[in-house]
Amino acid sequence: MSGSSGLPTVVGMIEARDLTKRYGDRTAVDGLTFTVRPGRVTGFLGPNGAGKSTTLRLVLGLDAPTSGTATVGGRRYAELAAPLGTVGSLLDAKGVHGGRTARQHLTGLAAGNRIPRHRVEDVLDLTGLTEVAGRRVKGFSLGMSQRLGMAAALLGDPEVLILDEPVNGLDTEGIRWIRTLLKSLAAQGRTVFLSSHLMSEMELTADHLIVIGCGRLLADTTMRDFIETNSRAHTLVRSPEPEKLRDLLEAKGASVRLDARGGWRVDGLDANAIGDLARDQGLTLHELTPAHSSLEEVYTALSRDSAEYRTRQEALR
């Protein structure tokens, strides 16, 4: 079997081809094409409202695309007879009837997909919910609900995991737990595709990134490439004579801004040039730090650019 891209379709590969979803006038997903591969954690990143959840719903066959296709292992989700054994998903942690217990929720899903009963106890144990398994879900905190959502996703021991904001509501210990779990699942050769609007979390968890803004693909690259390509180098400088230093740097054509932590943030001259310049002019420096903008800043800039682009395009119509 081969995908439309010409590359062979691997078991567990998620593919979106020209995926588009419109709700009335609003285009939530706009011609998205991407591939999510097994064996690594792929982060799906975008600001709130970028179309992440819609895309995941399209992949899971919950919403029908306006055009384009979304497949898992070369097949549409709806074609899977017992999907939970192939694809585990967590969309809305609170999407469980409050009157049910955690165990009842999982037992029902297991029965629906011929998953052996012992898996229910296995995933309850894995997610640390065994003790509260007999309690009604109504009383669960968001963190416990997220764990139940993870338990449901893992129930069928699937090759592919699709998770929408799984760390939302988890405490520090929970976040660390999920990060370790996702990395180990990917290391076993499974496909892990998780969305988040939190760049900092992604930076620690994901190996690969798919970034969208306003429903369009902004980047599909490794985490390292994404940072290196998109972040701009700058230098932090501090001096007891800040005004003099600024005039000097600006005279050399550098752009100088006040940094949030104090001192100057300099673009256009590297640390070596700034150091040499200061020595030549007899200026004391207290700090000279080369820096990259954080992933957070890169991502904010990228999504802002895309929003501005979109606004311009719409103004031109």
Binding site: A81, P83, V96, H97, R100, G108, L109
Partner: protein, 255 residues
């Protein structure tokens, strides 16, 4: 690939999933229990108050409150699906069974089987209670069989009607209001239509039920001259049509 990935699942698995979901929601279980209890309590009540009209039958009198029970069955039918939309469970249901027609069929089979069996037992019991408590020889007996099977079937049909309306409306309050309206309004508004009353009132599932219980309330002037069985068939017919409509809506809609 893991072994679980090769598992096949179809209607029996969807039915098992529905059954577990059904019995783990207290409101559904309680409403269902009420559906079964109301006819029996009604028989006791009517016998105790001696409120039965002289021209009524033992069967009709014993099943005086069966109309209320039938409405409760329809409410259960609606809640089985609207509860899932309300809580968001519908998405995990569709994630487990992407073929939505299978989900609806499983819900329909569960509801029809459960309400039929419960109504059969409950209405038979109500009749026995009424027969034992009502004054001997004062009322015509009424013919229990085969009417009882039709009575039970009218409960199943009402539950399915509730399911169809619930699937189309999706919101619990709206669906319950709509389904009670469908069951009650025809007989409430019927008199406003003058000569057409028998047509208006006669289309409700409650009319079919009343005819089957052979109560003196079900006169040709109020609920039409259509016999009890054709009346049941009529209600079953439009319920089936509504269910097909609901299945179509379910397939085309974003969850």
């Amino acid at each position: 690939m893991t072994a679980l990935a090769d598992a096949r699942a179809g209607f029996p698995q969807a039915l098992a999933h529905e059954w577990i979901k059904f019995r783990s929601v207290r409101s559904l279980v309680l409403t269902t229990v009420a559906t079964a209890a109301v006819p029996v309590l009604g028989a006791v009540f009517v016998a105790a108050t001696g409120s039965l009209q002289p021209d009524d039958t033992v069967l009709g009198g014993s099943l005086s409150l069966s109309v209320v029970a039938q409405i409760l069955a329809a409410v259960v039918g609606a809640l089985v699906i609207t509860g899932e939309y309300g809580s968001g469970t519908i998405r995990s249901t569709f994630a487990a069974t992407p073929r939505r027609a299978t989900v609806l069929a499983a819900k329909a089979a569960l509801l029809a089987g459960l309400t039929y069996a419960l109504a059969l037992v409950s209405c038979a019991l109500a009749y026995l209670v009424g027969d034992a408590l009502l004054e001997e020889g004062r009322y015509a007996q009424g013919k229990l069989l085969p009417a009882l099977f039709g009575i039970a079937a009218s409960f199943a049909v009402a539950a399915l009607l509730g399911l169809a309306v619930g699937t189309l409306v999706r919101h619990s309050a709206g669906a319950v209001t709509a389904v009670i309206g469908v069951l009650l309004l025809p007989s409430l508004l019927g008199p406003l239509f003058g000569d057409a009353q028998r047509w208006v009132a006669g289309i409700s599932p409650t009319a079919a039920l009343q005819k089957l219980t052979q109560t003196s309330d079900a006169t040709a002037e109020t609920v039409g001259s259509l016999g009890p069985w054709p009346s049941l068939l009529l209600v079953a017919g439009y319920t089936a049509a509504l269910l097909l409509l609901a299945a179509g809506a379910l397939r085309g809609r974003d969850a």
